[in-house]
Amino acid sequence: MKNLFFHLYILGTMSLWSQGITTTIRTSTTLKELFTEIEAQIDYKFAYRNDLDVSARYFNQELQLDNASVSELISELNNHLPIHFSVIGDNITVHRASSSRQQYYTYTGKITDELGDPLVGVSIHIKEVNTGTTTDENGNFSLRLASNNYTVRVTYVGYRSIEKSLKLTHNVNHQFQLEIDTQTLEEVVVTDQSRAVNIKKPQMSVNHLSMQQIKQIPVAMGEADPLKALMTFPGVSNAGEGSSGFNVRGGAADQNLILLDGAPIYSDSHLLGFFSVFNADAVNSLELYKGGIPSKFGGRVSSVLDVHQQQGNYNDMEAAGGIGLISSRLLLKGPILKDKLSYMIAGRASYAHLFLKLADNDNSAMFYDINTRLNYQIDQNNSIYFSGYSGSDVFDLADNFNTTYGNLMGNLGWKHTFSNSLGSDLSVFYSDYRFELAINTEDFQWKSAIKSYGLKYDWIHHLADRFLLNYGVQGTYYDFNPGTLEPQSSDSQFNYRQLDKKYAVESAAYLDIEHKLTDKVNLRYGLRYSLYYRYGEEEILTYAQNKPVIYNPIYNIYEKAEPTGSVAYGSGERIANFNNFEPRISLSYTISQKHSFKASYNRMAQYIHIVSNSQSPTPMDIWTPSGPFIKPQILDQYALGYFRNFDNKMYSLETEVFYKKVKNRIDYVDGANLLANNNIEQVLLNGKARAYGLELLLRKNKGDFTGWLAYTLSRAEQKTVGISEGEPGIANGNWYVSPYDKLHNFNIVGNYQLTDKWSFSGNFSLQSGQPITYPNGYYEFGDIHIPNFNMRNENRLPLYHHLDLAATYTPRPKKTSGWRGSWVFSIYNIYSRKNAASIRFTTNEDTGINEARRLSIFGIVPSISYNFKF
């Protein structure tokens, strides 16, 4: 009894401490009356099934309670009534005690799609007893089962499967919302830790992460980060600490398509790469497609990062948030009109003047994000949604250097179900990235932007059991401002300049077929046809032989060609156009329930590019559209994999090899002026890129200890031969390693649930250093020392490694409502490794001696954050 009492204390809310129950129960009291009276005094609700007759009088003697605790109440009730009471969460469940040893209960539920529409014919399978049922036309199901622990599996073609554990010690009702799975049929996990690999689905080369997993990975400064989490998986890396962007299978950062609820986002990081633009609270899950990319996606050649925001809640108001060393977050979701209109809004802001203020000056640096989602359920077959995102960085240094940059995105869509087998999603979006910079002492302001307006119409069609069709059309209109330079006063030394604005339309139609050929062979194949137009108004320079860059053989250098004239294109007049057929195919061959082989091929085209001379993206980077001098990048990728689950899915193994090649990867000539250059074609050379590698992912999916081990062995190279015979191109026209080449990349992530209250996680990362060019000597010129660099990217920075640990403490783990908090304590780089972000070769300005200087970003970084829900 004492023990029970103690447990109830732990379970209880604060109200349990302050509230006592005082009542007198007479023999005339009905259960209903008792419940009403007690519910008025405490925060608990009585929960019971309809077959319990609450208007009956069960008491055979009078009962007096004076300031009793909940546990005392329950114990008294259980002693006096032929009914069993127990506390589950904030409920006191009530059911008739049964005398038989083997008890049977009913398991009921309703299955709907994301918008709350009932789904018909969904399969519910109870693994342990190999039985099941399907939902009726209202999406309801009912099963009668012996009291036991079960695993329920809910599957429906075209939707993500759900596995949930079921503890049937009373009648249970579960509500399932299935997520439409137009892209991948990768499993998503609701409650348990089952992340076993899907053996049968042809989709390969995908990394899926739920927010729960992301929040478990320790990161510098304790700010849970979806992008940093992705880098613990094979095939994903970046240029190191404090750098923006990410590289997938040896691809450049501008070759990643980043989608937030289906609309593109052009920049992925805040504070120069320390944090991603994805607020971990606002994101529900994400998938990164590294290969075998379905034909629904296109426009970038390296990867697709598909991020899904949290949905609103049609029934109850919920809130979540956190306070960290860097930022605070708050998320609210709930109904505006119950069962009709729901919202989600999330905000995150760093503390303004963050660390800079501490340095005792006027500098400030901050960022913020706002994420929103609205869902409106019109009727059974129609719903409308809106997704929005706005995020910016603001720097203000010494009242002199001011810069603001960020993304703005809005996406409005209409989902319509024609029949059980045909659904559609029509959406329009706007997305932009803007950069502004002002330097007061220089009296000028600089602005650049990419704006895009898009339309998508996607269809899902269940043709037969064996066929699922996805098809649709997409179109995006781009408006590029490569730069506006405005003098801020009349005595500014700058002249006003507007670089030529550029306009383009990228459109595509696609068909994607998921086809179950036999029990063992599953296919997914499709075709994307993309069509791109570059439009005026713009004046395009012309060059002799159409060559904007010429090679000077005397001095062995590349020079700008002298334009021979120009052509003025009127508004809406076509300047250039391209089109590409992009076939995609993937297949799986299931050897047995435990293991399979998968293979895929995809071709993709990319029409807009970033040319940058730094190793990772900077906020100033400018998107450049394909046109008369810049051809679209074309990728061909092949991948082959072996997938296996062990030990009843306790462990899973994913291994893949890939080879990819990219045509028309642009490179720049040495010393090129890439910003504020109105004729950027004069400094670009056309090259190609290739990458190949091996990826291993071994996971432990279940139990108190979960985690994964990832290893990538890969090579990324570029080759730029000149325009004509005998030219050196870049690196003498030989293959040279790309700046983002990482030969070895090894990660271990582990999470250990010690008790309900304490869990621990760790991350160890070991990588080859980044490619770098070392000097092979120096010489004196103009009284300064000039290091002489030989072959591009021939050397490497020292090995990169760090170990990070985190502990999460949840004071009241069993609470299911009210205020629930948890603390995260983390230490990044626990042994304070000074990883080189770069090594530069420079002359000491005091001693005049040449030296190599290593820049390291993070030493040991301890941090603490508090997260809450209510």
Binding site: L271, L272, F355, A359, N361, N363, A365, F395, L397, N400, F401, T441, E442, Q493, F494, N495, I554, N556, I557, S614, P619, M620, D670, G671, N673, L675, A676, P739, T773, Y774, P775, N776, G777, Y778, Y779, E780, F781, G782, D783, I784, H785, I786, P787, N788, F789, N790, M791, R792, A836, F841, T842, T843, E845, D846, G848, A852, R853, L855, S856, F858
Partner: protein, 275 residues
């Protein structure tokens, strides 16, 4: 303009170190290869306004190991410059790789050809002497630097001619820095304006001397110097240009070129004492 954007990028990078307390830069030992000991010809003909420009020097040395404290000097070379009218100016070997001429005749917009014979190799280079716009004014201001400390800035102004593309190379020599600080300017975004070029250093203090040398240069030399300064700018995240070729050709073996550059500039000099 390019220089200016590099500056902006550098600002972003220095923010990294401001945001993150633990970031630091330290000197490390890196084992480096030894390249060829290529000949380096540093031939600058500088005609300071108000002088006759008759005294000129050319330096010849070799590339060496990165960690060597001295570059090897080349003596015993035969060096002369010829103008487009066939007038020849001899540069005498005065030791330590220095070659001196005392009767040079500088003329604006005239083409000159340098000839250097070292051992059995013959090197040549051709350039035109470029004019410069005179320094109008030198001003001293105080700016707040990133660290929050006030920094003294020395700025000079000149009038850019509107009817042409101009390229400038300026340097600031001080008693506090070991090496001159170069600034490269093209008038792409400033054409026809009064252009300001500044220099600041946190160690500048009252009484320090700043000597400003402002030159007009050719577009080709501008491009070369741009690469040279990129290797030394210290942008830690940019790929440095490799094997920078100047305008010096090897007449015997075209592949075995010499490093360095032959350039001719009119210059204006101003000296400012910090007050």
């Amino acid at each position: 303009m390019k220089y200016f954007f590099d500056y902006a990028q550098m600002l972003f990078l220095s923010l990294v170190t401001l945001i993150i307390f633990s970031s630091c830069e330290d000197v490390v030992d890196v084992a480096l290869d030894t390249g060829q000991s290529t000949i380096v010809i540093d031939a600058e003909i500088l005609w300071q306004s108000g002088t006759d420009g008759s005294k000129q020097t050319i330096l010849i040395s070799k590339m060496t190991d990165y960690y060597n404290q001295q570059v090897p000097k080349v003596t015993g070379a035969e060096v002369f410059v010829e103008n487009q009218y066939g007038q020849r100016f001899e540069f005498k070997d005065i030791g330590q790789g220095v070659y001196q001429c005392t009767n040079f005749n500088p003329e604006l917009d005239v083409e000159y050809t340098l000839t250097v014979a070292v051992g059995d190799q013959l090197y040549t280079a051709t350039e035109v002497m470029e004019p410069v716009s005179e320094i109008l004014q030198v001003v001293q201001t105080v700016e707040q630097g990133f660290s929050g400390e006030d920094e003294i800035e020395v700025q000079f102004k000149f009038q850019d001619p509107a009817d042409q593309s101009n390229y400038y190379l300026s340097d600031f020599e001080t008693n506090i820095l070991f090496y001159p600080e170069y600034e490269l300017t093209d008038d792409d975004l400033y054409n026809g304006n009064v252009i300001k070029i500044g220099f600041s250093d946190e160690d500048l203090k009252i009484g320090d001397t700043v000597k400003i040398t402002h030159r007009g240069i050719s577009e080709q030399f501008y491009n070369y110097m741009n690469l040279i300064l990129e290797t030394t700018s210290g942008n830690p995240f940019a790929t440095p240009p490799g094997n920078i070729r100047g305008n010096i050709l090897n007449e015997n073996e075209p592949g075995a070129y010499a490093l360095g550059y032959f350039r001719l500039s009119q210059s204006d000099v101003a000296t400012h004492i910090i007050e």
